[in-house]
Amino acid sequence: GESVGLHLPTLSVQEGDNSIINCAYSNSASDYFIWYKQESGKGPQFIIDIRSNMDKRQGQRVTVLLNKTVKHLSLQIAATQPGDSAVYFCAEKEFGNEKLTFGTGTRLTIIP
């Protein structure tokens, strides 16, 4: 079936550097994409979302890029801080479908 996957299961970044987390999706009918951050013992926390009619969206210290041609999504975190350490999930949704399909996640570790 359709799935959302991640290129790397773990990512270590120096504090202060920028982080880039990548995600590939396979459902060409997906029109909505969302990134979540999940800390240990907590539920997923919304970071940023983007619709398929956009290719870039910025938030506070975060940017999501969408490349529909190659079905690729990325999350950029600027000036990474220790509090950014968590597992990051991308998820996608098809119009008219209530289900969010999640990938397996990338663990981001910040090196002090």
Binding site: G43, P44, F89, E98
Partner: protein, 116 residues
């Protein structure tokens, strides 16, 4: 503004038993979705409730059932528990009328279910 709240936070059951998990959506939200998250995996969609009815269901057996109340809160019931049902059960709420839809889901902290 209260976010999504779930109870209990942890639960231990034995095989064959039944369990009920509870969720109160974020203030202003009318739609509740339930997800199962196995250790080291991404959440998997169980079902979604809107206007007290199951709007959509994922690939979960009939042992998984739910309910939504007039105040939009929801319950997830699992019958005849199996060892494989051990997971973090997440509730998410959103706002979704037929005229306006907000796709963003806001998650609770989950109920950690252990089946022995």
């Amino acid at each position: 503004d209260a976010g999504v709240t779930q109870s209990p936070t942890h639960l231990i059951k034995t095989r064959g038993q039944q369990v009920t998990l509870r969720c109160s959506p974020k203030s202003g939200h009318d739609t509740v979705s339930w997800y199962q998250q196995a250790l080291g995996q991404g959440p998997q969609f169980i079902f979604q409730y809107y206007e007290e009815e199951e709007r959509q269901r994922g690939n979960f057996p009939d042992r998984f059932s739910g309910h939504q109340f007039p105040n939009y809160s929801s319950e997830l019931n699992v019958n005849a528990l199996l060892l494989g049902d051990s997971a973090l059960y997440l509730c998410a709420s959103s706002y979704g009328t037929t005229r306006e839809r907000d796709e963003k889901l806001f998650f609770g902290s989950g109920t950690q279910l252990s089946v022995l």
